[in-house]
Symmetry: C2
Amino acid sequence: MDVITLAHGSGGKLTHQLIDGIFQQYFDNEILGQKNDSALLPEVNGKIAVTTDSFVINPIFFNGGDIGKISVCGTVNDLAMSGAKPLYLTVGFIIEEGLAIEDLRKIVKSIAKTAKEAGVKIVTGDTKVVEQGNADKIYINTTGIGVVTRDIYIGGEMAEPGDKVIINGTLGDHGASIMAQRGDLDFDFSTESDCCLLNNLIEDILNTSNNVKVLRDPTRGGLATTLNEIASQSQVAIELEEEQIPIKAEVRSLCEILGVDPLYLANEGKVIVIVSEEDVEKVLEVMRKNPMGEDAQIIGTIVDSNDSNVYLKTGLGGTRILNMLAGELLPRIC
Amino acid sequence: MDVITLAHGSGGKLTHQLIDGIFQQYFDNEILGQKNDSALLPEVNGKIAVTTDSFVINPIFFNGGDIGKISVCGTVNDLAMSGAKPLYLTVGFIIEEGLAIEDLRKIVKSIAKTAKEAGVKIVTGDTKVVEQGNADKIYINTTGIGVVTRDIYIGGEMAEPGDKVIINGTLGDHGASIMAQRGDLDFDFSTESDCCLLNNLIEDILNTSNNVKVLRDPTRGGLATTLNEIASQSQVAIELEEEQIPIKAEVRSLCEILGVDPLYLANEGKVIVIVSEEDVEKVLEVMRKNPMGEDAQIIGTIVDSNDSNVYLKTGLGGTRILNMLAGELLPRIC
C-alpha cells in the first residue's frame, strides 16, 4: 500500500508529485494553477467576509460524510452565516506519516465535490507531514473568503425582544452519529451526520426577508451553547419551547442511554435563524421548501432581560436555564 | 501549572475563556472583536492575494524565534513574494492536550508582536484541542490576505535568459540552527534561525525596479529546490556561481560534519530576487541598505535552455547539476 512519508512534506520531489498527481487533478482551476507563493484573485466588489476553521474529526470517514466534506461545509456555512456569498477556499493539510495515499485521494475528491456544489474554488493550499504518533491520520484547515453583496448586517448582537428563533431541522444528529461510531454500542444506530452545505438555504432566507437579525450554526457546544453566545452578545434572554425542538427519536434514545443532553450535541447542517416576528412565517415557509429546511420549526422567542440567560420551557410547564457547555462532551467532533 | 484541556476546545465556557483571556487581549482589533462566524473586512481596492501555511515546527521555541513568529513571518513573506501588501491574517490553532497555558500565551504574544511589526491584523481564528499523543504541543495555520496595488506581475514563470539572481543573505541558517538544536551535538552552535519579516525589504526592491521578474522564499527544500521550481515554471536553466553564494562558516562546518548540503537547508528570512540585468546593480544596492539585505549577493544568471536545470559552477571550474530535494533532510522545519 502506498502511504504518505515524511518526504511528501519536504517541499521537494514527492511534495510536487502530490501536488501535481492529486491536488491539481481534483482541485483544478486557473487560480490554483498559478503555482506561486500566493494566489491572485480577481477584484472583489463589496465587503469581504473571512473565516477559518481547523478540522480534527475522528473518525475521518463517518456515517454521512468525511473530514474533507466537513472541512468545506463548515467554512462555507460560516461565510453564509454572515450573509456572504462564499467564493474561495484555501486548504492546509497536516498529515500523519503512514496515511494511505488512497485515503488522502478520497478526502481530496470529497473536498473537490463539496466545493463544486458550494460554488467555491480551492485557490491555494499547503501540505505538512508529521512523524507517526504526532497527529491522528489527517487534520485540515480551511479558510474561506466570501463577498457581502447585500446591504444588510447580520450578527450575534442584533437579536431584539420579540424576535423569533427558528431551527432548520433535527438537533444532535452529527454529535450522536459520531458518538455512536466511536462507542462500542450493542445496538444499531442509523442516524447519519447532518453534515451539509447551508449556503443555498440561507440564500433563500435572505431573499425572503430583510429582517433577519442573526444566523449562526450550532456546531461545537450545540444549540444551548450557541444561543448563550447570542444572548450574551445581544444582551437579551431567549425562551425556548422544549416541545417545539425537533429531535429524532433515535437520537433522543441514545442520549438517554448515555446520559447526555441533545441540546449540547454538535450539529453540522443546522442554522439558528433569528428573525423579526412579522417575517417569521414567511421565512419558515421558504425554509421548509428547501431540502435542508424540511423540518424547520419555530422554537423560541427573544425576551427583554439583562440576565442573558437561555430558558427552556418544558412540556410540563416548568422552566430551566440552559447554560453554556461547561466541560467537554465529546472531543474532536469536527 | 495550568494546562490546556480537551474542554478548551469544546466551544463552551473554557473556549470562551481562552478567547477572552488570551486571544482578544493580544490580538485586539475592531475586526476580531466582531465575534461572529466570519470577520467582515473593509472593501479592498485591487487584486487580492491569498496564501495559507500550516506550521508544525519542532521545537516550538528555537534560537531566533518560535512557532508564533514563524507562523506570521512565513505567511506575510509569501504575500510579499507576490508583490502584495499584507493586510490580514487568520490564525488556526491545533493544540495537544497538556500544553502549558503559559506557553500558549508566549506564542500568542509573539504572533501579536510580529503581526504588529508587519502591519497586519489578526481578523479571525479557531482553536481545536486533540488528545495527548495526537499532536506535538501545538500546530498553527495562518492564512494571509493582501492587496496588489502595483501594476506589475511577479511570478515563477517570468524569468528570462540574461536575468540575474540575487539572494539577500546567508543560506541555511534556519535549517542548520534547528538541526543543531534537535541533535545531540558535542560542540556549541550559535547561528540563529534567520526567521524574519521580508515585506519591507521587498517594498524597497519594488520601489527601485519595475523589472523584477520573480520573488520567492527558499524555505522547505532550500535554494536548490526553489530554483528548480522556478527553472521549471519559466522553462529556462539557471547557472549559479558557488563562490558567490553566502554561507556562514559555522553553518558550512555543521553541514560538513553531518554530511548535508546547505543549499537544501530551509531558510525563513531569505528571498530569491530575479531581476533584469540592467536593474541588478541598483536593486542590489538598495537591498544592502536594508537590515534584512546587508549580505545580499548576485549569485547567478538565467540561461536559455529547455532542460530546466540548475547548474552550480564550482570554484575549481567544474559544474554540477543541483536537483530538487529528493528525500527528506529534516522533517518539521517550519
